[in-house]
């Protein structure tokens, strides 16, 4: 089948605060801003954060004490740059293989004396689908499309209650 390349999503925002502050809010204080409606689990989200080290989790804790990982930190360069994989289920643990994850890079550039341009690039969506060498290995495991679809099903359940 033809491999599908999906263009990255690129976004930027100017924040009236220095890069170090923005970096901290983006990671440690994730819970204070991450849209609650986009949880991968039913129930009330009571905490979320991006742990401050390579290998750290991007996770959310719910009121039933379950913790769900969104991804893992692969680059931790405060206050300039952050890279994390975008996973969608705890199955990640038993099916390691960054080849099936999309990834998110966040950069923080000082803008003036007291401002920061924060740029987000969410890329490699096609890794979650078909095509690509890494995907070939994962295609028969629990990875690939199944995960992506579970993700959307999860979002969908949240967004469109019966």
């Amino acid at each position: 089948m033809v491999g599908l390349a999906i263009a990255p999503v690129r976004k930027s925002v100017r924040v009236a605060a220095p890069p170090a502050h923005c970096f901290k809010v983006f990671t440690t204080d994730l819970f204070h801003w991450w849209p609650k409606s986009h949880a991968l689990h039913t129930g009330l989200m009571i905490h979320s954060e991006i742990e401050p080290f390579v290998g750290g989790r991007f996770y959310a804790r719910f009121d039933d004490q379950q913790e769900i990982n969104t991804g893992f930190v692969t680059v931790w360069e405060p206050p300039k740059r952050l890279l994390f994989t975008w996973e969608i289920s705890e199955k990640w643990k038993s099916h390691p293989g960054a080849g099936t994850a999309s990834e998110v890079e966040v950069t923080f550039h000082a803008d003036g004396s007291d401002g920061t341009i924060v740029e987000v690039e969410h890329r490699n969506f096609e890794r979650m689908g078909q095509g690509g060498e890494a995907m070939r290995e994962a295609v028969d495991s629990a990875g690939g499309w199944s995960r992506l679809l579970e993700l959307f099903a999860g979002y969908s359940d949240q967004s469109y209650p019966d």
Partner: protein
């Protein structure tokens, strides 16, 4: 909205399974239905929903139809994330600036 259709199409586990099977390449309904706990006509119904959502496309091959994944539906996935990050960054900016003001006022 096109995305709504994509999400609701994928919300059904059997439909996800049908869609997932097309990952490996185009297939006719008879092959797609093999091993699934539903009838062939149910699979056809699922395919219709997936097709309406733009997730699969089909073409005639003699008397039967061959289904394949339609890249246009995948583009909808990207569109979804596009909107998602818009929302997230608006919220992030507000939080970062609110807390920055608080810290400044402490100085």
């Amino acid at each position: 909205m096109a995305n709504d259709r994509v999400f609701s199409a994928l919300a059904d586990p059997t439909r996800r399974q049908v869609f997932d099977r097309l990952r490996h390449g185009p297939k006719p309904v008879s092959v797609l239905a093999k091993g699934l706990p539903v009838t062939r006509s149910a699979v056809s119904q699922h395919l219709r929903v997936l097709k309406d959502a733009g997730l699969v496309a089909d073409q005639a091959d003699g008397a039967r139809r061959i289904y394949r994944i339609d890249p246009k539906g995948l583009a909808a996935v990207r569109v979804w994330f596009d909107g998602f990050w818009d929302d997230a960054l608006v919220s992030f900016k507000a939080a970062a600036e609110r807390t920055a003001r608080k810290e400044k006022s402490k100085w």
